[in-house]
């Protein structure tokens, strides 16, 4: 739905008689998803969905209702009546905030015109070509090639309006040999045949180097984490630890924290070239660049409007992407500078182990290699690790250039060289 169509629909909804304040959020997606394994396509799905969320506010009461039939005017009218009827029964909540009423420009940082032309057959053909490359190499390939065309629009009865179209591409591929596997991805707002084949080739190469791994007895050691591993870890750290209110209330690893965490910067920015995103939140707030760590120094964390107003702080909405700066060292140079270490392609199943210290556990996966005297010498058996993100950030000694990663959240992350990383047990 384009800007004018969204504006017309939202205006028509806001004209439905209602008391109090009404906020309207529209989201639409057309997503092609092709999965393959054993070098053949196993699932192929076209998903077309739209969601209309209506939020009613009566003074300090607020409720919402979502429906998915945008062309059913009677249902929309009934839903507006229902959301206000429910709202009257809500107890007061002092944290409810009025709509902002801001009209936002359409930045569309994450819109890619070329991506609009990708069709079912295009995705199928690229997936088939990847499968052929795997078959030619005698390696099992499994993966997902997905491309989504989306829009989001917001309007409120205080006059606010925002709309953006955006794209999201996601290709990841696992290459499996007789005794070891490799993995690679392409993430971003666009994808081309070359991106698919480059990632496929990288996964096949990783797989070739991952056969017949040997045991590295788990111990603290220097690691080089490739961008996906860094992204998975930093995303978990952000959502567990970077909340200003929790910090202020003593419920955060950063409560009473005044140390510096290494020297990297950690921020969110919808205009980030490596992985741009929509520039407004689901309640119509503009998203600008927010810095969470400035060269390792903790800044104000994400702060909602209620907490900001109450405490005289700037509003810093929850972000749509995460970026960790890097010093631009190449992966080869990171390896070359390491005498005794482990190269990690990918992490898996990261979970919190201790909220107070921002401690997490997880596994390595699909390409874990021994580094000795500046060279990758052989693959090693995957390992479990237990480590605090505070310590990881503090122990970064070199880093790469941020690149797009993250299947579930847009991120741009560099490879990191981290000293004293705690591996704790062996996997398979």
């Amino acid at each position: 739905m384009n800007r004018q169509q969204s504006q017309d629909l939202i205006a028509a909804i806001l004209e439905i008689p209602h008391e109090g304040e009404l906020q309207v959020l529209l989201n639409g997606v057309e997503r092609l998803g092709t999965r393959f394994n054993d070098c053949s396509i196993s699932q192929n799905v076209l998903k077309q969905q739209a969601t209309l969320t209506l939020s009613a506010r009566l003074e300090q009461k607020k409720t919402s209702v979502s429906i998915n039939a945008l062309d059913d005017q009677e249902l929309i009218k009934r839903s507006v009546e229902q959301v206000f009827a429910t709202c009257r029964h809500m107890p007061d909540d002092e944290e409810v905030m009025p709509a902002l009423g801001d009209v936002l420009p359409s930045t569309e940082y994450a819109f890619n015109a070329e991506s609009d032309t990708i069709e079912i057959e295009t995705v199928g053909a690229w997936a088939a070509q990847a499968c052929s490359a795997g078959a030619a190499a005698g390696i099992d390939l499994a993966g997902l090639l997905a491309h989504a065309k989306m829009f989001t629009a917001y309007g409120d009865s205080a006059g606010g309006f925002a709309h953006e179209r955006y794209h999201r591409s996601n290709y990841h591929v696992t290459a499996t040999g007789t005794n070891g596997s490799g993995w690679a991805e392409h993430q971003g707002v666009s994808i081309a045949q070359n991106d698919v084949m480059t990632a496929t080739g990288r996964a096949i190469d990783k797989c070739a180097g991952a056969q017949d791994p040997t045991v590295f007895e788990p111990r603290p050691v220097t690691v080089i984490l490739e961008p996906q591993a860094v992204g998975d870890l930093m995303a978990m750290a952000f959502w567990y630890g970077f909340d200003q209110r929790a910090k202020d209330e003593g419920r955060s690893p950063f409560s009473d924290f005044d140390a510096t965490l290494g020297r990297l910067s950690f921020y969110s920015d919808p205009a980030e070239a490596a992985f741009p995103t929509v520039a407004f939140s689901s309640d119509g707030q503009a998203l600008a660049k927010s810095v969470w760590l400035d060269e390792g120094k903790l800044q104000q964390l994400f702060t909602n409007r209620y907490w900001a107003n109450k405490n005289g702080l700037a509003v810093k909405p929850a972000p749509n992407n995460l970026v960790l700066s890097g010093d631009g060292t190449s992966l080869d140079d990171l390896i070359r500078s390491t005498d005794d270490g482990i190269l990690v392609t990918r992490f898996w199943y990261i979970r919190s182990t201790d909220a107070r210290t921002l401690g997490f556990t997880g596994m390595t996966r699909d390409g874990t290699y021994r580094i000795e005297n500046g060279e990758v010498t052989h693959p090693v058996v995957d390992m479990r690790w237990n480590e605090s993100v505070l310590k990881v950030l503090d122990n970064v000694v070199a880093s790469g250039k941020p690149v797009a990663t993250g299947e579930f959240m847009a991120m741009a992350m560099p490879a990191l060289k981290v000293e004293d990383f705690h591996f704790s047990s062996l996997s398979n």
């Binding site: 998803g33 092709t34 999965r35 394994n37 054993d38 053949s40 396509i41 196993s42 699932q43 192929n44 076209l46 998903k47 077309q48 969905q49 739209a50 607020k62 409720t63 919402s64 209702v65 979502s66 429906i67 998915n68 839903s79 229902q82 029964h89 107890p91 007061d92 909540d93 057959e121 995705v123 199928g124 997936a127 088939a128 499968c131 052929s132 099992d140 499994a142 997902l144 997905a146 990841h172 591929v173 696992t174 499996t176 003593g250 419920r251 955060s252 199943y349 979970r351 919190s352 182990t353 201790d354 107070r356 210290t357 401690g359 596994m363 995957d382 479990r384 704790s424 996997s427 398979n428």
Partner: protein, 482 residues
């Protein structure tokens, strides 16, 4: 409602599809969330649409739409066939072998004595805010929260083999939790009211108030708990804690699509390869793990799955020996079974069915044994209660789990709470270390409503269960440095 679904299947069959099915879903949801003395949100959802799956020239195609009209049906069938043609660009050499299933007519309705959508919002608010109030009376508690979540899924299913199926399933879920701050620390303790396919009748205010008082007291106690010791110890898991371990180390490990590599690139594969069927020692002879998609009030009890196969009960592990997998119609032939186990489900009308964990539980001990008697035989160990940190590798072998509350056991009795305790093991090592489980009087079900699998991720639900169970010499590590 069936007519348009039949139109979809007939249109696909006439166009040359080997198989077609069509599902229409009406999904109603409500989630009410409390924060301290207020409700922080109340969100309702009403979501309807249909999906058509076709097997055409040996390849799958799937398309869906929220617009339920004859014109749209024909358009979506054409889209599904176009997608199948694209799938055929990289066709599986041996093609799709679809397990036969007789045409079925079935109408399934879950038990729902009190419709949760008819209960006044004030009553839900009262339940949650009263529980929060009890927790906040404890001065260490700086945040009290809770939620009630309800879902009703009405499903109509038709396939080209003549099946016409309908289900109407209502599920309910709730939890409360408290965060205590003090002693240079913060700690969270929760109570999960068992999620199930039932209505509001399963929630009683007095139980919430009783649990709230205990939760707050134990959150406060966690602040001053000792750091866990490390090393090898005997452990006892309560039924909720072990439910998650069953889910991760048995449920996912025995999904046949994973074993066949269909999930390699996302959720992973499994160490339970086909050569292990029938003679692999998964656990000790105390361990019988039963799958049962007919379990009363079980979250995976839906009458039939999204391949059109009725719910079934089967043993995955019997007396410690691995028996068989969870499967769907596309996968049964891989293990020489003529019929699917009926465990293929989709989480939405726009999602394609995939093999999912069934209701799956550890059978209780056959001889009378109480939790006190179970603990009496532990000289120095740990007792894990509730779910906390959980992580497992992509083969479902190496795992590490915590508990929402953990106590040290000394000389057969609880001896104070521990902080940051985690048990780490490998699946067969762990289950072979099981030497006793309490009898049926202590068996409890626990629902899982956030099981993620597939790519894109689909969220499914199922019920697990166990009685308190003992495992000998399990490695204990901790999530916090001393």
């Amino acid at each position: 409602m069936f007519d348009l679904l039949k139109l979809a299947c007939n249109t696909a069959s006439k166009a040359g599809c080997q198989f077609a099915d069509a599902r229409y879903l009406s999904i109603r949801k409500q989630r009410v969330v409390s924060r301290d003395h207020a409700l922080s949100s109340c969100s309702d959802g009403d979501d309807r649409g249909f999906g058509v799956r076709v097997l055409y020239q040996g390849a799958w195609g799937f398309a869906s739409s929220p617009t339920y009209t004859a014109d749209e049906i024909e358009k979506v069938v054409a889209q599904a066939m176009r997608i199948a043609r694209a799938s055929a660009m990289a066709l599986r050499e041996d093609g799709v072998k679809w397990a036969p299933e007789p045409a079925l007519t079935l109408d399934f309705k879950s038990t729902c004595r009190q419709d949760p959508f008819a209960v006044a919002l004030e009553d839900k608010a009262d339940l949650l805010i009263a529980a929060n109030g009890v927790m906040l009376k404890n001065k260490s508690i700086k945040r009290a929260q809770g939620f009630l979540s309800f879902k009703r899924v009405q499903r109509w299913y038709v396939n080209s083999e003549g099946s016409e199926l309908h289900s109407d399933v209502t599920s309910s879920e709730s939890a409360i939790w408290a965060i205590a701050v003090g002693n240079d620390d913060f700690q969270e303790r929760n109570w999960n009211a068992p999620a199930s396919n039932q209505g509001f009748e399963c929630y009683r205010k007095q139980e919430f108030l009783n649990q709230a008082e205990r939760v707050a007291a134990e959150a406060e106690e966690k602040l001053s708990a000792r750091l866990s010791p490390e090393g090898d110890f005997d452990i006892i898991t309560d039924s909720e804690n072990l439910s998650l371990t069953i889910h991760e180390s048995v449920g996912h490990a025995t999904e046949l699509d994973r074993v066949m590599g269909y999930e390699v690139s996302m959720a992973g594969s499994s160490f339970v390869t086909r050569d292990k069927q029938g003679d692999f020692r998964y656990g000790s002879d105390q361990v019988t793990l039963m799958a049962d998609n007919t379990l009363e009030n079980g979250l995976a009890t839906q009458g039939f799955d999204d391949d059109g196969v009725p719910g079934q009960r089967w043993e995955i592990v019997r007396d410690g020996i691995f028996q068989t997998y969870s499967s769907g119609r596309e996968f049964a032939h891989y293990i020489g079974e003529e019929r699917s186990r009926g465990s293929c489900r989709a989480d939405h009308w726009s999602s394609i069915p995939i093999v999912r964990i069934p209701n799956l539980f550890l059978m209780p001990g056959k001889t009378p044994l109480s939790p006190d008697e179970l603990m009496a035989d532990v000289k120095h160990g740990l007792y894990f209660e509730g779910m906390d940190s959980f992580s497992i590798d992509q083969w479902r072998l190496n795992f590490q789990f915590g508990g929402n509350a953990v106590w040290e056991i000394k000389n057969g009795k609880k001896a104070g709470m521990l902080k940051a305790a985690l048990y780490q093991s490998r699946t067969p090592t762990f289950w072979n270390a099981c030497d006793a489980t309490c009898d049926e009087n202590y068996w409890q079900p626990h629902g899982v409503t956030n099981c993620g699998k597939g790519d894109p991720m689909q969220i499914s639900q199922m019920t697990h269960g166990a009685a308190p169970t003992r495992f000998r010499k399990i490695h204990i590590c901790r999530g916090r440095d001393s």
